[in-house]
């Protein structure tokens, strides 16, 4: 099991009396893409936030690359540099241009030379088709463009893995695709990723493993084909049914 990059063992997360994650264990191998699905409020986003120590946990242990990830610990900033995270929305810094958004952390947190980081940032922007937006401010971009910039901003830190928290949930349908394409490309290049999403077709296409979470517990943890075609549990079946529709009117001809 030497190639495991991130492990979470027996995570317990409570908000007051409300248990959001109940004994969740998950391990991610290098280069693996895990998609987490489940009904809203099942704890998917909380799981990602705990993995990046944005939330304190009440039980369990998280290890990244052999190092413990502990909420409030001294070396947290260094650990977080290894984990790129993209949020649902509003996470670009509105007072900084696109380029400055990307450069802030490499220059301030990693103390890299500005021109070197800027050259890399431009290359990354080019790859997502936004090189001409480097001087723009976030409010001049569409939602899809903002999320692509947010991904570039995380990539520029050279993370060993990426966390995506419903990054397309706040987008208009026609913009979802351009963001998902960037993520598919990352997967092709072998990036390790944990993705929380409601886009089931996308999940099927990108996942090496699908984790189905309900009421803070992992109900299924399997390959996408098994999960989508032959779900093992009744609850997973019910969940997947939400995404299919039957015709409400009988066809008159027959």
């Amino acid at each position: 099991m030497a190639d495991e990059l991130l492990t979470a063992e027996h995570l317990v997360k409570r908000f007051d009396d409300n248990t959001v994650l109940d004994d969740v264990s998950l391990s991610v191998k290098k280069g693996e893409v895990i998609v987490v699905v489940g009904p809203s409020g099942c704890g998917k986003s909380t799981l990602l936030r705990c993995l990046n120590a944005l939330e304190p946990i009440q039980g369990g242990k998280i290890t990244l690359d052999g190092e413990a990830v502990v909420y409030g610990s001294k070396n947290l900033a260094a650990i977080r540099q290894k984990i790129g995270m993209v949020f649902q929305s509003y996470d670009l810094f509105p007072h900084l241009s696109v380029l400055d958004n990307i450069l802030l952390a490499p220059v301030k947190a990693q103390k890299r030379k500005k021109d070197e980081a800027a050259a890399e940032a431009m290359k990354l922007l080019e790859r997502v088709g936004l090189a001409d937006k480097a001087k723009s401010f976030p409010r001049q971009l569409s939602g899809g463009q903002k999320q692509r910039v947010a991904i570039v901003r995380a990539l520029c830190m050279h993370p060993v893995m990426m966390l995506f928290d419903e990054v397309t949930a706040a987008l208009d349908p026609e913009m979802v695709r351009e963001v998902l394409d960037v993520m598919l490309n990352l997967a092709k290049q072998g990036m390790t990723m944990i993705i929380v999403t409601h886009e089931m077709q996308f999940a099927k296409a990108i996942a090496d493993r699908v984790v189905f979470l309900e009421n803070g517990e992992i109900i299924e943890d399997t390959d996408p084909n098994t999960f989508f075609e032959h779900p093992q549990t009744e609850r997973a079946k019910q969940f997947l049914n939400i995404f299919s529709f039957e015709r409400s009117k009988k066809d008159e001809k027959n």
């Binding site: 977080r80 540099q81 509003y90 996470d91 301030k108 401010f137």
Partner: protein, 219 residues
């Protein structure tokens, strides 16, 4: 209106106005950093200090400046803390203003979405760096209108300084009314001088407010 009288006592008013402005600015100059630190302590929920800050803010905001000045000027010397009118004026204004500035900064900080802090942290910035480069620039621009309103409020509050025998504008006006019964002239000059002090700040305030509200970043 007796213009000769006005002309004669103009320099006296000028000096009094200068004193008002000097002590006002000194008090505000201290109130700004005090308010800033209080707001940051509350924003980061620093244990213990946060309690002290909130007790200070409540006392400062729920008592009148005049009473605060009386306490500093007449009561504190009794327990061995000496003071003089100018120090008392500056200290009183700073004590009052600190809490108002703290509220202005705090509402600015709270207006910044929490995900901004989280995404800065998840990029590997330290909390201090996140505050400095990400949160503060946004918070300050949000709190500009409240900030300017506080400056006007505090400059107005300086009018009670004469109660601790500072020879400010109110003191001068009252003195001239008492001595020469030139009420209209004395009051006229009082209003004119307060206008000279307060109107520019007020205009600047509404210009800044409009700019902040309309522009945002990147237009």
């Amino acid at each position: 209106m007796n213009w000769d009288f006005i002309w004669k006592y103009l320099p006296m008013y000028g000096e009094a106005a200068l004193l008002t402005v000097k002590i006002g600015l000194a008090g505000i100059g201290i109130a700004i950093p005090v308010g800033f630190f209080c707001a940051v302590i509350q924003y980061f929920k620093v244990a213990l200090l946060r309690r002290i800050v909130s007790v200070y803010i409540e006392i400062s905001r729920n008592t009148p400046l005049l009473i605060q000045l009386f306490f500093i000027y007449y009561a504190l010397p009794k327990i061995g803390i000496p003071t003089n009118p100018s120090v008392c004026g500056v200290a009183g204004l700073a004590f009052l203003g600190g809490s108002y500035m703290a509220e202005a900064f705090r509402s600015g900080l709270e207006a910044v979405e929490t995900v901004q802090m989280e995404s800065a942290l998840s990029l590997g910035l330290k909390r201090g760096q996140a505050l400095l480069y990400v949160i503060l620039p946004q918070a300050v621009s949000v709190s500009v209108p409240a900030f300017v309103a506080n400056i006007i409020f505090l400059l107005k509050e300086t009018s009670v300084f004469s109660a601790v025998s500072l020879m400010d504008l109110m003191f001068t006006a009252k003195d001239l009314i008492g001595q020469y019964y030139k009420t209209t002239e004395s009051l006229f000059m009082l209003v004119v001088f307060y206008m000279i002090i307060l109107l520019p700040v007020s205009i600047l305030g509404s210009v800044l407010e409009r700019r902040v509200r309309r522009a945002g970043f990147g237009s």
